[in-house]
């Protein structure tokens, strides 16, 4: 997590102005519904121009966080800024796009009419509507269904249209809440490509997703949330730093593992020992050390945890605290 600035004492704006302000900054953002805590003090910063993944199990507070940031719900405590402006600021909203998780567009409108309606709401200059709409339709692959009513659309097509709506007005910051949940593999691939293209043109993408493989493939950085708080944040490589694992089938060490230097204590499963945080280039060193201690090495299996393994491990560690 980067924490490169402090909020102003008044809380009405952030001190870092203009282009240097982060895309998103939250300070102890919390939401309670009666006795239930949906979000318990979220503090994080998302710099501009990156794809930021927001991961967590169901009920972790992901969608609550998005809704708080977009002003759809009021925080119980804490503050947040989008593009340097306090949440809810109307001028900042002109630069923000949003694809909700659960939604349906007006079935009585065509895709083109939905996009035109949102062009007007987003205050896109009328002279630019035609181009904006055509570009959005082409980007999400709905150009040939532009004049069909939304009530005839499948869930996946509604999701494509939602993405097109979020792209209108060339926003600087886009929130995508489970953008691929209703899409087939081709659609998921398309969304990944669109997301990368957005980053390439300088747009910040806040990707809220259950699909860890998606996050692993496209995100520059990610935060893992559980029980309403961030339990890990960093680049994907940073999150997976301790995820390099070496399994060794070993005999003859006779309790001398405590003498092992330079490596964390392994976990044991019968004859197999699992060493965490051992990059592939250190595997020979590990084997040499084990042999030096008198161990007889029968098998060595270096592997890297997937983000999913790491995610589950983080949740287990959090639960164990």
């Amino acid at each position: 997590m980067t924490a490169s600035f402090s909020p102003s004492p008044t809380g009405s704006s952030i001190e870092v102005a203009g282009d240097s302000s982060p895309a998103i900054h939250t300070q102890d953002l919390a939401k309670r519904y009666g006795h239930v805590t949906a979000l318990a003090g979220l503090t994080m910063t998302v710099p501009k121009g990156e794809i930021f993944g927001f991961l967590g199990p169901n009920g972790a507070g992901k969608t609550t966080s998005v809704k708080l940031l977009l002003g759809l719900t009021e925080p119980s405590a804490g503050q947040a800024w989008l593009l340097g402006a306090p949440i809810g600021d109307l001028a900042a909203r002109r630069k923000i796009g949003y694809l909700p998780e659960l939604f349906r567009y007006q079935g009585f409108l065509t895709a083109r009419e939905v996009l035109a309606f949102h062009c007007e709401l987003a205050r896109v200059p009328r002279s630019g509507w035609k181009e904006e709409i055509a570009e959005a339709l082409a980007t999400v692959g709905l150009a040939d269904r532009a004049d069909d009513r939304c009530q005839t659309f499948s869930k996946g097509m509604q999701q494509r249209l939602g993405l097109g709506v979020a792209l209108l007005g060339r926003p600087e910051l886009i929130f995508l809440d489970e953008p691929t949940s209703a899409l087939d593999p081709v659609g998921r691939h398309d969304v990944r490509e669109i997301t990368r293209a957005l980053r390439d043109r300088g747009t910040t993408v806040f990707l809220n997703s259950h699909l860890l493989s998606e996050v692993e493939m496209v995100c520059d950085r990610a935060a893992v949330v559980d029980h309403g708080r961030v339990i890990a944040v960093g680049t994907i490589d940073e999150l997976l730093r301790d995820a390099d694992v070496v399994r060794v089938r070993l005999g003859g060490l006779n309790g001398r593992l405590g003498d092992l230097a330079g490596f964390k204590a392994p976990s044991a499963d019968g004859e197999w020992l699992t060493f965490r945080g051992v990059a592939e280039d250190r595997v020979p060193e590990l084997v040499s050390e084990l042999v030096r201690l008198g161990g007889r090495v029968y098998a060595v299996e270096p592997r890297r945890q997937s983000l999913e393994d790491r995610f589950l491990q983080l949740l287990d560690e959090e639960d164990a605290r």
């Binding site: 809704k67 009021e74 909203r93 659960l102 349906r104 949102h118 709401l121």
Partner: protein, 286 residues
């Protein structure tokens, strides 16, 4: 006033049109007006071998016109509730609101925009339906009520009051719940008005107060009685006046037009409830 409310208002009209609400209302209303016109055309022969004179015809046409307007008032009130009760809540339930409320507009723009669209719809429908109805009656029998513009204006106001009430519920309650609550309130107030009139007719001030309070709480019945007053011919008013207070017991008789203070209260009621609806929606978690 923010310009953001205009696309919301326009979308309300598009929705009414695309969902075939306008076609259904137009078709049914024209059918009803055709039946009314046919019925009125038979009035001159209702006396059989004793044809009615012009004055008698006018009096009968006056009473029937009041009944026709009562029917429009009934349809208008319930239609207003049925279109306004889901105005906000249905969009919240479907998720449409998520993408709208995150745009650069205030929640007030959404509420007022919706209200403007619905109020316009109600006004256009009422003016068109009642004007056509009166023109048809005028064509077939040569009768027009003494103050049609005033009567239609009060009917429009009744519809706008009903829309405003249902809009308030729409910011918090599910479409069906809001619609049912508003309908019950409307009927209670209508019934309260009749009971209050009976209380007045028989000199029971407590019962009469019941009617007064119900018209203050919800001015739909008050607006209907304004329309009613302006539909009555001078002869009808004079005939009822002979009965003194007892005439107030007739639910289709209004001895006086609504007082100016009551009209001011109705305007304040509409503005106040719209403000309450805006406040309610602004504080709603989406």
């Amino acid at each position: 006033m923010s310009r953001a409310l205009w696309p919301i208002a326009r979308m309300t009209l598009v929705e009414a049109s695309r969902r075939r609400l306008l076609i259904a209302l137009t078709g049914l209303t024209l059918a009803v007006i055709a039946v009314v016109g046919y019925g009125f055309s038979k009035l001159p022969s209702v006396g059989g071998s004793h044809p009615l004179n012009h004055d008698d015809l006018d009096q009968i046409a006056s009473v029937l016109t009041i009944l026709t307007f009562f029917m429009f008032s009934f349809v208008l009130s319930f239609a207003s509730i049925f279109v306004a009760a889901p105005a906000i809540s249905a969009d919240v339930e479907s998720g449409v609101m998520l993408s709208i409320a995150t745009r650069p507009l205030r929640r007030a723009d959404i509420v007022v925009g919706r209200w403007l669209g619905l109020a316009f719809l109600v006004a256009v429908y009422t003016i068109a339906a009642t004007t056509i109805d009166l023109e048809v009656v005028n064509l077939v029998i040569g009768y027009l009520p003494p103050h049609p513009v005033e009567a239609i204006t009060f009917l429009v106001a009744e519809g706008v009051v009903a829309v405003t009430l249902a809009m308030l519920f729409s910011t918090r309650l599910a479409p069906m719940t809001g619609g049912i609550v508003a309908t019950i309130l409307l009927l209670v107030v209508w019934f309260g008005g009749i009971v209050g009139n009976i209380g007045y007719a028989f000199g029971n001030d407590t019962v009469a107060m019941f009617g007064t309070i119900s018209r203050i709480v919800l001015p739909t019945d008050g607006m209907w009685r304004g329309a009613l007053y302006y539909l009555q011919t001078p002869q009808l008013l004079a005939a009822q006046a002979l009965l003194g207070r007892r005439a107030a017991g007739n639910p289709f008789f209004a001895p006086n037009p609504p007082a100016l203070a009551y009209l001011a209260w109705t305007v304040a009621w509409i503005v106040g409830l719209l403000g309450l609806a805006t406040w309610s929606f602004r504080n709603r978690e989406l």
